[in-house]
Structures are given as C-alpha cells and as structure tokens.
C-alpha cells in the first residue's frame, strides 16, 4: 500500500512546541497520523495538542516511553544536525527533516555518521512523506492526494503539491509521495526511493519530479533503465533558468554546463521515461 510510512508509523515530533512544529503536528494529527510524542528540550513533562501528546526533553526518553519509530524534525536550521543525530542515536529508524537552510558541512558530518549507524534520513529541506489515507509525516497538504498506486518522488516542495493536485483532479491516486528535499547533501536519493517503489507491490508506476542542478536525475535515469520494470513519468523544472544563476535554493545551481534541465530530460527520455512539458500535464503521461 505504501513505502516508508503507513498506519503503523508511530511518530515523534522534534520541535513540537515551536510555531511550525506545533502547527504541522496539529495538521498531521487531524490527518490521522499516529503522533505518539514530542520533544522540546526543557519542556519535558508538558502535554500538547489538547493534552493528548506528551513532550519529552530527549529523543531517547521519548522513544523508550512511547515506542516511536519515526521522527519528524521542525527545529531551527542551526540545531537541525544535532536533532538528526539525536534521533539516530535514540534508535529512530526513519528521520524526516523538514528544516530548511541547514549548513552543508553540518549535513555532510551528520549524514556520514547516521549512514554508518543504520537510520534512514529523508531531507533536510523537504516537505516530508505522505501515504494518502494512512499517514502524513511532514507538511504536504493532506487534501491534495487520494490513495492509489502511483508513487511520487520529488526534490521540490510546492511543485510536488502542484503535481499531486493535478493527479487528484484526474482522480489518480497515490501510494506514497516522498519529498527528498532540494539541498545538495540529503539523506535519501531518487535512487533509494525508486528502488523502494520498484519493490512495493502496491505501487504500479512512479512520477519523478526533478529540477536543475546536480546529476541526480541523470543517475535516476540510469537506474530506471537498468533496474526498473514499472513505468516512470517525470517533470523537470528549470528549462528557462539561466546557467550559473542561483534559483532560490542550493539544489538549483547549474553547475558548469552539466545540471541543465535539457540534459536531464534527455537522459530520462532515453531511459524510457515519459516527460511532461509542464506539471499540469503529468496526468496525461502516467500510464
């Protein structure tokens, strides 16, 4: 039915008493996500969300008491690497970091460590993971996707919403939508998620949403050609972006000739991926 998160996901919210953490924890709970605990150092012992969710000082305390198996992070950027490491050290197998603006060197260090210690990180700077009808971990609006068999993976945030919304209007359902984040150093790549969708019996096909910068889409194309049996559709943003200009976030730098949208689209097409000309046309190219 899904990958990564489902009805069995027992969610911990790091930064639950912050403005964003609190807002989105409320949204997630309303969606039906099984939130079991929050962590805010110094606020352990409080209860939030109508007194239903206990707040802990430390992840290890929260995890031991509540059996959380997933954590979503809403702490400020300068504390994000520490929060990721704390979650990994607390034995949380799936960590979703929403926080934007995490320094690259913090991420390189944190990622090197957690990879060696067996936790999976989604993000940072990502909208999270949504399994429609089951679990919403992150900030993807819950009302723009219906359950189904299309897997969606994206480096982008609101562009993902645009695609989900376009699918929904055509009554096309989604198994799981994974926003892997737009930062140069992230925890989970297109490849990782494509492999999961390929193995998921409830996913029939995949929509990949890429953008300029890096070579992630090219490597995804290679993986699709070599390892995917399920059909893949795609959209790549940034055809009109000028080379060598920074477009909003670090993932969107055109790095010296490579990283161009046109090259990415060509690579995907040659791997048999049907590429939509614009996000509204995604429903036309899915199988």
């Amino acid at each position: 039915m899904s990958i990564l998160v489902d009805k069995k996901t027992r969610l911990l919210v790091q930064g639950i008493t912050g403005r964003e953490g609190f807002f989105h924890a409320t949204q997630m709970m309303e969606y039906g996500t099984q939130i079991v605990a929050g962590v805010t150092p110094g606020k352990g012992g409080e209860w939030v969300l109508d007194g239903k969710i206990p707040v802990f000082d430390t992840v290890v305390g929260a995890a031991e008491t509540t059996g959380a198996n997933c954590s979503v992070i809403f702490v400020p950027a300068r504390f994000a690497a520490d929060a990721i490491l704390e979650a990994a050290d607390g034995g949380i197998p799936l960590i979703v970091c929403i926080t934007e603006g995490v320094p690259v060197q913090d991420m390189m260090q944190a990622r090197s460590h957690i990879t060696q210690h067996g936790s999976r990180l989604i993000g940072p700077n990502c909208p999270g993971v949504l399994t429609p009808g089951a679990s919403k971990v992150g900030i993807i609006p819950g009302n723009i996707a219906i359950p189904g068999s299309i897997g969606v993976v994206s480096r982008s945030g609101t562009l993902t919403y645009e695609v989900l919304y376009a699918l929904q209007r055509k009554e096309l359902g989604v198994s799981t939508c994974v926003g892997i984040g737009g930062d140069p150093i992230n925890g989970t790549s297109f490849l990782d998620v494509l492999a999961m969708f390929e193995d998921d019996p409830h996913t029939d096909q995949v929509v990949l949403i890429g953008e300029i910068g890096g070579t992630d889409e090219e490597r995804a194309a290679e993986f699709i050609a070599d390892h995917m049996t399920k059909p893949v559709a795609a959209f790549v943003a940034g055809m009109t972006a000028p080379a060598d200009k920074r477009m909003g976030h670090a993932g969107a730098i055109v790095e010296g000739g490579s990283g161009l949208a046109a090259d990415k689209i060509a690579a995907l097409k040659s791997a048999g991926v049907r590429v939509a000309e614009h996000p509204d046309l995604i429903p036309e190219v899915v199988a």
Partner: protein
C-alpha cells in the same frame, strides 16, 4: 556568498598558505602607492565577483608605480560582464615556473568534500576536465576525519610534483581544507598555485564561496559581503528573505517555492511568454513579505504583466491576498496581474481578491496563458 580574490587570499594566508605581497586599492593613486611600497613589477587585478577577468583585460602587469597607476585608472573605469570595477588588488609579480590547480568543494554524489588537483593550473578546471581529464586527480574526504596527510601526498604524487615540494604542498592542502571547513565554504580554490623561480609554492589567485546558510556563525565573513556587487533589487530581496533573480523577459512572477517558481517560468515560456524574473517568497510568507516582493517585481520597468502562483501549504492564501492588496495601495501601477491561489485558506484568499476585483485563474496553465495574453495586449497598446 562569493568572496573577492583579495578577501579569499587574506583568509588562505591565515591558514599558512603563502600569497604574494600586495594590497587592495580603491583609487589609482592608492594603487600607485601600493606599487611603490612593494617595489618591482606588480600585477593590477580587478576585484569583481565574476569569472573571465583576465580575458576582459581586468588583469594587467605594471613595471613601475606610475604604470601601475595608469593601468589601475583604466581597470577602475571598466566593467567586467556588466559589473563595474570598484577595487583593484595590487600584488607583487611572481616569476612563474609551473602552474598547479588545487581546490576543494562539495561532492553531491559522494555527499563529502572532494579535493581536486591538477598539474594544469592557470586555466579553468572545467576546461581541464574537458580536454585532459587524465591530468585531473580527486580525492574524497571523509567529513568526520578531514583531509589526511596521506591524501594530500597522494595528490602531490599524482600531479608529479617534485618531491622537495611535497611537504609544503601537504601544508597548503591542509590549510586550504581547514579554511574551507572553518569558513563553512562550499568552494575554496587556488588557481594557479605556482612554483616560483626560487622554488616556493604561492597562491597567485584565490576563490572562495561561503555557504549562506552558515553565515550565522561567521560574523566576520558576513561582513565581507560586497553589497556593491549586488543589484539593488537583489539586495532588497535579501533583506526580506526573498530569493530574486532578474531575467530579461516581461512577465513578472511571484511564487512560493523554488521548484514551483522555476516550473512557473517554464510554463510561461511554454505559452509563448518570457519571464522577467525568478522570485521565491519561501514558505509561510506573510502579507508584508508579499508586498515587498511585489514592489521588487514592479521596480523592473520591463514588466508588462505579473503572475502570482501560490500553492498554500505553510503559506496561507488569505495572507498572500492581503499582501497583494497592501502592496497595490503603496505602489500605484497599471501593470495587469493574474493570481492563482490554491491550498491553505484558499476560499478566504479568493474572497479577498474577488472583493478587490483581481483577475484570478484556476490552474497554473490557465494563469500562465492569461499572463502571456495580458503582456501581449499591453505591448500592442
């Protein structure tokens, strides 16, 4: 954030990397007196944050202080790729025996720093990668361990550096790596690193790009930002935490999210229009931020139409609607606009816009088509 050559050199020098004696100057007479202090031949180098200074004539030799003054006068009057030159670096000229490349940057694929060295310095490393990739050597650095001596020696051996310079080279590589990590840089580069006539290694040029996200812990670097090198709208955008890039088209656009902003530009182009800018208002922008963003878009006189594309998630549609109306009160304009709002608090946003008789669209395609027609109509007027 890019640093100027003279700034990067100062930093590298703090990490034990030898640089030519020299100083930055803002006027030709200042350049002359630096040349007098240094004695002998000097190089006068324009300090602008774009590549291709050399080809543009922005780097010139001067044999005497008065020649340095003359050359500086010319350089300070020129533009490099549209950027006016406001400062020159006056360095003593070195006798160059060999030119090496040495740089460290982030490798997205390996999710680690990578150090690159080549015996072919003095030309752009992308060029080396293209024409003689066999002369380019790279090592992946484990971020938790840092650059190890043996790795630096591996690079020295690979580029066939003469052995008596290995120890010095290892010191430079470690200095460069430490400068890179301690400054939270995304790029630290010496090109060329030269072997001088008297057998020393000196960094003749220096480039450094610092991670904007890490500036909060580097007050000293944040102060190095050269605001003169930014166009006023970019500067204004940064003040409000907006990402703005001016482009050459006539359809202004304001979007939440970088990916969606690029997609919006792509769709405009697809329907025959030309985007005037990239503008990402980010997540959760309030009314004042939206107003500031609109002001920036309209400051571009090329703009003939404006497209708003907001997919509310963290961002609330009613806030955006209010921001647009607030801005329109301050900026009197006759540029036509179309708004596409979806998501969080959509109904309330739509109501506010309807009350103000704003033109709206139901989908991104529709909004883009409308914006293109509006711009075309206005042109034909």
């Amino acid at each position: 954030m890019k640093l100027h050559e003279y700034q990067a050199k100062q930093i590298f020098s703090q990490y034990g990397i030898a640089i030519p004696r020299g100083r930055v100057a803002s006027t030709a007479s200042e350049a002359k007196s630096v040349a007098q202090e240094l004695g002998g031949r000097v190089v006068v180098k324009s300090q602008v944050l774009v590549g291709g200074r050399g080809k543009a004539g922005g780097i010139r030799l001067a044999n005497t202080p008065s020649e340095a003054e003359e050359v500086a006068t010319q350089i300070l009057a020129m533009q490099v790729k549209g950027l006016p030159v406001r400062k020159v670096l006056v360095d003593e000229a070195a006798t160059i025996v060999e030119e090496i490349y040495l740089g460290v940057t982030n490798d997205r694929g390996a999710r680690s720093p990578v150090m690159i060295a080549s015996s072919e310095g003095g030309i752009e490393i992308e060029e080396v990668a293209r024409i003689m990739p066999e002369r380019l050597f790279r090592i992946t650095i484990e971020p938790l361990l840092g650059l190890r001596e043996y790795q630096a020696r591996y690079l020295a051996a690979s580029i066939e550096l003469r052995r008596e310079l290995w120890r010095e080279f290892v010191g430079i590589a470690q200095g460069l790596y430490t400068a890179y990590t301690e400054s939270d840089a995304t790029l630290a580069e010496i090109n060329p690193l030269v072997i001088t006539g008297d057998g020393r290694l000196i960094a003749l040029d220096a480039k450094m790009v610092v991670d904007d996200n890490a500036l909060f812990r580097h007050a000293e670097l944040a102060e190095m930002r050269d605001f003169d090198e930014e166009a006023p709208p970019e500067r204004e955008a940064r003040k409000y935490g907006l990402s703005y890039v001016k482009l050459d088209g006539d359809i202004g656009c304001m979007v939440n999210g970088a990916g969606l902003a690029m997609a919006t530009m792509d769709v405009i182009k697809l329907f025959g229009g030309e985007p005037a800018n990239f503008l990402d208002i980010g997540g959760g922008a309030g009314a004042d931020k939206v107003a500031a963003a609109l002001g920036i878009i309209l400051s571009d006189s090329n703009v003939q139409a404006v497209l708003f594309n907001i997919f509310g998630g963290i961002t609330r549609c009613d806030e955006v609607a209010r921001g647009i109306l607030m801005a329109l009160k301050e900026v009197s304009t006759d540029v036509p606009m179309v708004v596409r709002l979806t998501g969080t608090n959509e109904a309330e946003g739509q109501r506010i816009l309807a009350e103000a008789d704003m033109l709206t669209a139901g989908s991104l395609s529709e909004a883009a088509q409308t914006a293109v027609s509006l711009a075309n109509e206005r042109h034909s007027v």
